[in-house]
């Protein structure tokens, strides 16, 4: 009887030993498109691996067993091809500048607007946020209104060329978020702007 039990135990051990790994998890750190590579920490049941080099990888074949290593770029592209191909376009943003105390674009920025329109047109289900700013000349409440008028002016121009108004959100931040910090009442052309975020 005890012999039989021993044999059974041995069989179970053999089966477990030969069993395929429970998981085939793979975690890969990619080089950032901006040239910087971040850090990814992979933790499983208290075991962890810290990935901080491009294509550094961790495999988890069962919970609590984290094996650090690396993959080639080609291996990453092969294994994750479909997910990488489905990656949405990177969000981007543009700065347009205005004439002093007006909601009228500078001539250069008027030209740049055409590029913004192209960028929006090539994106599926585009979302656009237009945030207006002013320099610090004039009272704060006045600049709140002016910044919003600038943003609305850009929205109107985008709508005029066929972009759906409901895709565009406008905000005015007044003189609160200058690109170039200045003392109050200083005229600064670089602060008279709208930022258009497209994603």
């Amino acid at each position: 009887m005890s012999r039989l039990a021993g044999l059974t135990a041995l069989t179970v051990l053999l089966l477990v030993g030969c069993a395929k790994p429970a998981r085939n998890d793979l975690y890969v750190l990619m080089p950032g498109q901006d040239g910087k590579t971040g850090t990814l920490t992979v933790e499983s049941n208290g075991q962890r691996a810290v990935l901080d080099q491009p294509y550094a990888a961790a495999r988890v074949k069962e919970p609590g067993r984290v094996e650090a290593g690396a993959v080639t770029e080609q291996e990453a592209r092969q294994t994750f091809g479909a997910a990488l191909e489905a990656q949405p376009g990177r969000p981007t943003s543009f700065l347009l500048y205005f004439l002093e105390n007006r909601d009228e674009l500078t001539p250069d920025s008027q030209q740049l607007l055409a590029r913004v329109v192209d960028e929006i047109a090539r994106r599926p289900a585009p979302e656009i946020v237009v945030i207006g700013h002013t320099d610090r000349v004039g009272p704060v409440p006045y600049n709140d209104t002016l910044s919003l008028r600038r943003a609305e002016r850009v929205r109107d121009e985008l709508v005029k060329v066929g972009i759906a108004a409901e895709r565009i959100r406008v905000e005015g931040r007044g003189e609160r978020e200058p690109l170039v910090p200045t003392a109050d009442e200083v005229a600064e052309p670089r602060n008279r702007r709208v930022e258009i975020s497209v994603r």
């Binding site: 998890d25 933790e43 997910a83 949405p88 289900a125």
Partner: protein, 151 residues
């Protein structure tokens, strides 16, 4: 005066209900949708074409021929390959302060991630889990495959 007191709470309630530029639960939008892609929300399954809204609490699944790409409000990009199950467990983002939190789980399949403003603002704001591991994200791009070898 009495009348004002009665009216005021109602006005406040409406203001609270309507506050924010978007619905409180809106987390992102589908930008790429290939093959079979479904969103499961409150027990209902619906197709997820380009433009579909993704909310916190949604589970996004792809079929054998499916792939999906989602852009979140903080500019995080998540895209999944075929036979994947991705749960958006939590999403909160303040577009002014860039604070909040983003937690998601890949239950199976493949996932590509580009972290956004949340992870940039606070190193612990973005968390991705799988059945076997928890990932900590420090402003980065990465890939995840999880599942059983027989999947």
């Amino acid at each position: 005066m009495v009348r004002r007191l009665v009216v005021l709470p109602a006005t406040v309630m409406i203001a609270v209900a309507m506050s924010g530029p978007v619905s409180a639960q809106e987390a992102g939008h589908v930008k790429v949708s290939r093959g079979a892609v479904l969103i499961e929300r409150a027990g209902q399954k619906m197709p997820a074409p380009v433009g579909a809204v993704v909310q916190a609490g949604d589970v996004v699944t792809t079929g054998a021929d499916g792939a999906v790409g989602i852009t979140f409000l903080d500019n995080s990009l998540l895209s999944a390959g075929p036979n994947s199950v991705l749960a958006i467990d939590r999403f909160a983002f303040d577009s002014t302060t860039h604070q909040g939190g983003f937690e998601s789980s890949l239950r199976k399949g493949t996932l590509a991630v580009v972290s956004g403003k949340l992870a940039k603002q606070s190193p612990d704001a973005m968390k991705v889990k799988t059945p076997a591991a928890a990932l900590g994200v420090r402003g980065t791009e990465f890939l995840v495959r999880t599942g059983n070898p027989k999947d």
